[in-house]
């Protein structure tokens, strides 16, 4: 029944795997340039990311072993465990730069909000699959999912980690795209979303976060303060031109003008040093991953598999759009890392597991 079937190996998901490894490889090369100078060898951050990538690939293959449908049974316990971890983070997590996001597990730090994204996707895929695809979704059907999102979202916004909260909400919301939603329900939902945003604005957002939104809406407001990152990041990307300044040659990147250039603003280093050509290659690979993911959703023989694939595609899509949009000045500055390019172990592992799940669905499309 389970285990590695010969057919599984024959059906190995080569396209997705190849594109993912290529993007992650570009990410590490880019990190070498984005990291502080070191006298010998690779910078610490690049080294650590390389180790994380190794672990991530092992995890990816481990994810392939069990049938993804087993996961359906564990959706709720997984969700509950993540909520417990999120509470633990708020009670005793490690504080870095004013945010309490990490659980200190001796040699490594776990960021449970990353796991929350996966848990949410698995849970929603299960809920929707149980309902069936044809049942129309009314407002009352959204109450329970709403609460299920609200719990981890509230815990994560409290850390505070606005970026991850945002991703969690939009990824969950994306499932609506594959259900039959009544028009009236949809309108009311939009009203609720606006109301929730207003409440968040009034009670949850920090001043610096509000400042960023104001700045985005009106960059002239404070060009030296909050808009500074956006302007400098555009100069970096723009000055890369068609072919870029070359590896390690970006004067904007080599100056510490962006404090987050290894994480949230890593794309600007790529843009400056590799130019439009480099950026287009990375965007093409990303798009390839997304389209391949949607194809997997399409070819899956069961609803759970389809929904799982859609959720994972949504995760990559939104993180990519929000991050790149921020770097090139079309979206406000929100701390969302770029999947597989930004420095960060938990985020990379989450990506690799998510890709593993996608491949799992793909490789079992004939196994029925």
């Amino acid at each position: 029944m389970q285990g590695i079937d010969r057919r599984l190996i024959q059906n190995f998901e080569w396209p997705l795997f190849t594109m993912a490894v290529l993007v992650a490889g570009i990410g590490i090369v880019n990190l070498v340039s984005a990291s502080p100078e070191q006298t010998t060898g690779l910078p610490d951050t690049a080294w650590r990311q390389l180790v994380w990538l190794g672990i991530g690939i092992v995890l990816l293959f481990a994810t392939l072993v069990p049938d993804y449908r087993t996961l359906e049974r564990f959706a709720l316990p997984f969700y509950a465990a993540v909520v417990v971890l999120l509470v633990a983070v708020l009670l005793g997590g490690r504080i870095v730069n004013g945010s309490q996001r990490w659980l200190d597990l001796g040699p490594l730090n776990l960021q449970p909000s990353e796991l929350a994204k996966l848990a949410m996707i698995v849970l929603f895929a299960r809920l929707l699959a149980r309902r069936g695809a044809s049942a129309p979704v009314g407002l009352r059907d959204l109450i329970v999912p709403g609460i299920l999102i609200a719990i981890p979202a509230a815990l994560i916004v409290k850390q505070p980690d606005l970026g991850t909260t945002l991703i969690l909400c939009v990824v969950s919301g994306s499932f609506l795209a594959v259900t039959r939603v009544r028009v009236f329900s949809f309108l009311l939902l939009a009203a609720i979303a606006v109301g929730a945003a207003a409440v968040a604005w009034l009670f949850f957002l920090h001043d610096y976060q509000k400042e960023r939104v104001f700045t985005f809406l009106n960059p002239e407001r404070d060009p030296l303060g909050a808009a500074y990152h956006a302007i400098q990041s555009q100069i970096a990307v723009g000055s890369g031109g068609l072919f870029g300044k070359g590896f390690g040659q970006g004067s904007q990147s080599q100056l510490d003008f962006l404090p987050e250039q290894q994480t949230d603003f890593v794309f600007s280093v790529l843009g400056e040093e590799w130019g439009f050509v480099g950026v287009a290659v990375v965007l093409a690979l990303y798009l390839g991953i997304l389209i391949r993911g949607l194809m997997i959703a399409h070819s899956s023989k069961d609803l759970f598999g389809s929904y799982l694939a859609v959720g994972i595609v949504a995760l990559f899509f939104w993180a990519g759009v929000i991050n790149i949009g921020m770097v090139i000045g079309v979206l406000p500055v929100v701390g969302v890392p770029l999947p597989m390019l930004s420095y960060g172990g938990s985020a990379l592992l989450t990506c690799m597991i998510a890709l593993g799940l996608l491949m799992n669905v793909s490789m079992r499309r004939y196994v029925f």
Binding site: A177, A236, G240, G271
Partner: protein
């Protein structure tokens, strides 16, 4: 299988139709991103290239002025003064060797030193200002600034430099600074530091580094390709460090150090307030001048300090461990009284020596003290009385009372590196040497020779407990930490470490003896008489043998080479009734306590009383 796929239902096509729509949406969003990137990089690329090349951002870290360290009366001991430095940004400088030569000429600094300070910046360092000359005076600065227009990529800035007002005074306690090392930067607790930042390396500077350093600021400047500053993009003002107020009294510290320095004595002085455990003075000699380290220590000087056989970096007041000599006799006296082996009237004959088995233990007074009771034995420091009493008590009972006074344990001072000292027991000897304790060892211990080791701080703390009627306070040096505007962040209250389990009557008898040491005929501490305001002091002398008592002989110390001479102790408190200060003095290889250490203690007590009486007209 069925159980697993309970949700597997045939799709009615909704999902498939939606997926096509989603794919189209994703592709269009991606096209939008790509279009925007094309616009930024290809259409506007040259414009941004110009802004990136012509207007690059120069980030400068602005060091925060480090907090001051003040004594209990608000006298500033350490502060930060502004100094000027010249920096060169490699990336913006066309001809680096010529520029460095020019700077060397303008500042009058040695070219080799300027080149060495510039180093060989590579990679990212090429974009950051490299310091080439520091601690310049206004004239040198003016001559550089006048030529600044011709020197591309050269800039000047003000950086606070640490100033230790009184040089080597209290140097061990105040500590010193150094640049944070690369190995430290890898550790979590130093994550807010950057290479080149200044960090406390010893004493208070190290202990309270996070309070004293403040928060460094930074500024991002828009500069053109020639390094000319065009605009200030953003500025984060540095937050000045907090000020630290010590319990120390600089006048007493100065008196202690002057007294030690007068004859270039090696040793330590500790002055405590016996009512609180506050450290009023904590001196150690030889010392060093931390001003030399403030702008980066010269490796030559550092090597000299670490290789000096006199160990000037060691804080003898809390790291030096010495046999207590006769200052120990209070322990023997307290033990004897508490164990009811003697009372105030018990008399012992001292004929100048004491025989145990085949060995003779001499009293320091060859002709003997005659018939003595406890009081006389303390006043005249009769060895024979305490040989006999100690032998009756045994070493473990002595150890119990020594420990109850806080000896053989750290006194709790905030500074790092405090030594615990040593109070020997039978078990300790068995463990360490594997040989049994013999009675002869007890005889030596009873008068403070042999295995006992105390720090000057411990001795002062133990005598504080005797002086104040039996309360042991944790010794402490910090009074409060304040924000630059004077808001108190933390203040430190006296902490009781324990009560000495000894009756009031016992302590009263011992205190009477200690008062007699100073004020009665034949007392060994006569030097403490005639204090300002007619105050009467109490005290005890001690002479700790460096060469063992193996021979059972007491050798005249003047005949020995310096390193074999006895250590001199003197501990005193004043006034004898309701004491307000305790002073312990140790002079390494100083000979007799009464003559080598007591004058130092006297100076400190006199300064203290003058201050209280208002007759001291110092700073």
């Amino acid at each position: 299988m069925n159980r697993l796929t309970s949700s597997a239902q045939p799709s009615d096509g909704t999902v498939e139709r939606r997926l096509t729509g989603i794919a189209l949406l994703v592709v269009s969003v991606w096209m939008l991103l790509l279009t925007r990137l094309f616009y930024l990089q290809v259409v506007q690329g040259d414009v941004y290239k110009v802004s990136a090349e012509r207007n690059s951002v120069r980030s400068q870290r602005v060091q925060a002025p480090r907090g001051a360290v003040l004594d209990r009366h608000g006298e500033s001991l350490v502060d930060s003064r502004p100094a000027f430095e010249v920096l060169v940004v490699p990336h913006e400088t066309e001809d680096v060797p010529a520029t460095l030569t020019r700077i060397s000429g303008l500042t009058g600094r040695d070219l080799a030193a300027v080149q060495k300070s510039y180093g060989v910046p590579r990679g990212r360092a090429r974009f950051q200002p490299q310091r080439v000359a520091h601690d310049l005076d206004r004239d040198a600065l003016a001559s550089v600034e006048a030529r600044l227009w011709a020197l591309g990529g050269v800039l000047t800035q003000v950086t606070p430099v640490r100033g230790y007002r009184y040089g080597a005074s209290a140097a061990h306690l105040l500590g010193w600074l150094g640049e944070v090392g690369p190995e430290q930067l890898r550790e979590k607790e130093f994550q807010s530091y950057r290479l080149g930042d200044i960090i406390g390396r010893g004493g208070i500077e190290r202990l309270l580094d996070s309070d004293l350093r403040g928060r460094p600021g930074g500024r991002n400047l828009l500069v053109d390709a020639h390094g000319k500053e065009l605009d200030l993009l953003s500025l984060v003002e540095p937050q000045p460090g907090r000020n630290v107020v010590l319990t120390l009294d600089h006048a007493l510290q100065e008196a202690a150090e002057a007294a030690l320095d007068r004859e270039q004595k090696t040793g330590a002085v500790v002055a405590l307030d016996p009512r609180t455990g506050e450290v009023l003075a904590l001196a150690s000699r030889p010392a060093f001048d931390p001003n030399g380290f403030a702008t980066g220590i010269d490796p030559e000087i550092w090597r000299g300090l670490t290789n000096d056989p006199l160990k000037p970096l060691m804080n003898r007041a809390l790291q030096g461990q010495y046999p207590p000599g006769s200052t120990y006799k209070v322990v023997t006296a307290i033990a004897g009284l508490e164990e009811k082996l003697v009372d105030a009237h018990t008399e012992v004959h001292c004929g100048g020596s004491f025989r145990l088995g085949r060995r003779t233990y001499r009293c320091w007074k060859k002709e003997g003290h005659g018939t003595v009771d406890l009081h006389t034995a303390l006043v005249q420091s009769c060895d024979v009385y305490f040989y006999k009493l100690g032998l009756e008590l045994g070493v473990n009972r002595l150890a119990y009372y020594a420990r109850s006074l806080g000896l053989g344990a750290r006194t709790g001072i905030e500074l790092g590196g405090e030594m615990a000292g040593l109070v020997p027991t039978k078990e300790w000897r068995q463990l360490r040497d594997g040989t049994p304790w013999v009675e002869g060892d007890t005889v030596s211990v009873a008068i403070g020779q042999g295995a006992n080791l105390w720090t000057p701080l411990q001795l002062a703390a133990a005598y504080s407990a005797i002086a104040n009627g039996g309360t042991r306070y944790k010794t402490h040096l910090l009074k409060r930490i304040e924000e630059p505007d004077g808001t108190v962040v933390r203040s430190f209250e006296p902490e009781i470490a324990g009560e000495v389990p000894v009756s009031a009557g016992t302590l009263a008898l011992v205190r009477a003896g200690l008062a007699g040491v100073v004020n009665e005929p034949h007392g060994t501490g006569a030097l403490m008489r005639n204090l300002p305001g007619g105050v009467l002091a109490a005290g005890k002398t001690g002479t700790a043998q460096v060469v063992g008592m193996a021979s059972g002989e007491r050798v005249d110390t003047k005949d020995l080479a310096r390193q074999h001479r006895d250590h001199a102790w003197f501990v005193t408190y004043a006034p004898a009734e309701n004491p307000r200060i305790v002073v312990a003095v140790l002079v390494e290889h100083g000979g007799h306590g009464g003559s080598a250490a007591a004058p130092v203690a006297r100076d400190v007590v006199v300064r203290f009383l003058e201050r209280e009486l208002g007759t001291y007209a110092g700073n």
